[in-house]
Amino acid sequence: METLVVVVLLTFLAITAIGIIVLRDLLGAVILLGLYSFIAAGAFVVLDAVDVAFTEAAVGSGISTILFLGALSFTKHEQKKRGHDSFVALLFVVVTGALLIYGTLDMPHFGRIDSPAQTHPDLAVRFIEQSGSEVGPPNIVTSVLASYRGYDTLGETLVVFAAGIAVLSLLGLKRRRPEDDMPEDTPDHLPGDPLSGNANENQTHY
């Protein structure tokens, strides 16, 4: 049953990814990206990676959707049409993907009990046996993240925080005055219609 659910969710994931690539409408692609990270988070839950699923849901579906929308409000909603297909780029992508897949062949199979992480004499055994008395929380992942590699987590959080501030300052948080543009005055000032081709004409420029 678990295998069935995982396989179905991963199939959804692949279908959604192809849909995102094919779609030329960037707003639609942003919406589908939210869907993508929902499916990914569901798959993580089924695979027992609960903390990753939390992060994926909060970052992928929540924050990054909003950041993408903030970026889209400065640009057009339609992907630029390219005149040619770049076969060199395709070649590079295929080669890189093949190399990555070749790299995964060396990794231990999912859930194997004799994988190096499980059999290392100091790490896993010590975490499992002594993290309860040394740190406290019943969840071993929590004690590893917050205590054994606490400085690492602190640095990670700092980087993410700095990136968030940088993105916010790039997007601009200035308040617009209400008298700058009132959309309710006349039908000429209708909000941009994302469904028709002329959506970009009545878009606000800064």
Partner: protein, 155 residues
Amino acid sequence: MIDWIVWSVSWVLMLIGCVFVVSGAVGLIRMPDLYTRLHAASLTDTGGAIVISLVLIIQSVFVFGSAMAAIKVLLILFFTLFTSPTASHALAKTALLCGQVPTDGHGNPILESPEQATLLARSRPADYRSGQDGERARQEAAERRRHDDNAGDQS
């Protein structure tokens, strides 16, 4: 005895929930335009969530014996009951505001133009600026529909 009752009630409710959920998805595929799809999806979403959450509450109390799980399911149900209709309402209103014209039973648009849909979306009972326009658009649309109906009857 109580085990049997819990088991059968859970099964019946779960089947009802599955029917709700799947029929909502079928409606989402088969309905002709956005507003009918919205209707199908949002109604059955909420209905299915209520019924399936009931099953989960029954199971967590009687089978798993965990009150915490029941409270969490109740919280999920609470949030779903608040957020799902709100999201549906916002979706319908924004679609109207962006000029999605609803259609009638035969696939004909009810309003003349996307601008009328926008005006209709902007009209509110206690409006502050453009409500009169929206109210007028709505009355004009209703009159035109009545006129068209009469013309259709006479012909």
